[in-house]
């Protein structure tokens, strides 16, 4: 069952259809920092993350604090993520920085699945994880892949895409032990497109 979902788009964080935070910040960097402060999260490593990791981290934070995640051992929480731009946003920044001296702090974020690692470290998640790259949000992929996760696992899944100003996040929790919406591609598409059918440029 889909128990909770979080959308981050147009500099707005929406959890289960309710707007939790919005900022008119000039840049995505500023928006993510504003959100971190406004949501009173205490995790200094956030400042060091790239924007992809920050966006995924914020959405995961919103969901896992709403969920009875603590009843699951870390080994029984899984993660399935996907996006369109992989880590290209940071890859380009790293390439630019490398014209003088390469930055180790940027280099460590030049892989798309680092966002998964950051979420796992924060929430002590040790279960299965996978990261896919596809041109657009592929609800059918999530329906089929997440259904292969063992039934007694909590699964954090969804889309986390960042490129320049563009940010498009849709994460959700799949939990067979709790009531929610059926985990089907049609439901996922409905939640992804609901209210925010067009994303920022």
């Amino acid at each position: 069952m889909i128990t909770h979902h979080c959308r981050i788009v147009n500099k707005t964080i929406i959890v289960d259809g309710v707007v939790l935070f919005h900022s008119d910040a000039a840049s995505l960097d500023d928006f993510l920092l504003d959100a971190y402060k406004a949501l009173k999260i205490d995790y200094p490593k956030f400042y060091k993350m790239d924007n992809l990791s920050k966006a995924g981290f914020l959405a995961a934070e919103m969901l896992l604090k709403k969920s009875p995640a603590l009843k699951y051992a870390g080994e029984k929480i899984s993660l399935v993520l996907a996006n369109a731009h992989a880590s290209l946003d940071t890859d380009m920044k790293y390439a630019q920085a490398s014209q003088s001296v390469p930055s180790p702090a940027l280099f460590v974020y030049t892989l798309a699945n680092i966002v998964a690692g950051e979420i796992c470290i924060r929430h002590k998640i040790k279960g299965e994880n996978a990261f896919f790259v596809s041109e657009t949000f592929d609800a059918a992929l999530f329906e089929s892949y997440v259904s292969m996760i063992p039934a007694d696992h909590l699964c954090l899944a969804g889309w986390v895409d960042v490129m320049g100003k563009h940010h498009d996040v849709f994460l959700y929790l799949q939990d067979n032990a709790s009531p929610g919406k059926p985990h089907r591609a049609s439901t996922l598409n409905e939640l992804y497109k609901k209210e925010y059918g067009t994303v920022n440029g």
Binding site: P44, Y47, K48, S100, V101, P102, S103, P104, A105
Partner: protein, 86 residues
């Protein structure tokens, strides 16, 4: 020395993305790693880059890292010693 340490604190905050800190939050003798500011191995690499970019100093022996990067004061002493030697 005081000015050098003040500059170093600003540069460390900028280079290591410690935007939650102000220079005055970092003590001269405060440990930078683990129990202090909580820096990690990637931060150590960034500090090596900082020394190279800002002060033109290359660490000849990486084994010296833990001693040099113990605190802002030890980094400042390392810079002074190596600038004087140059």
């Amino acid at each position: 020395m005081e000015q050098l340490m003040a500059n170093l604190k600003r540069q460390i905050i900028e280079a290591l993305n410690l935007k939650h800190l102000k220079p005055e939050d970092i003590g001269d003798d405060q440990p930078l790693f683990v129990e202090g500011l909580g820096l990690d191995s990637i931060d150590a690499l960034e500090l090596i880059v900082l020394l190279q970019q800002q002060y033109g100093i290359k660490m000849a022996n990486p084994q010296d890292g833990p001693k040099v990067f113990k605190s802002v004061k030890t980094i400042a002493e390392f810079i002074q010693a190596n600038k004087a030697a140059a």
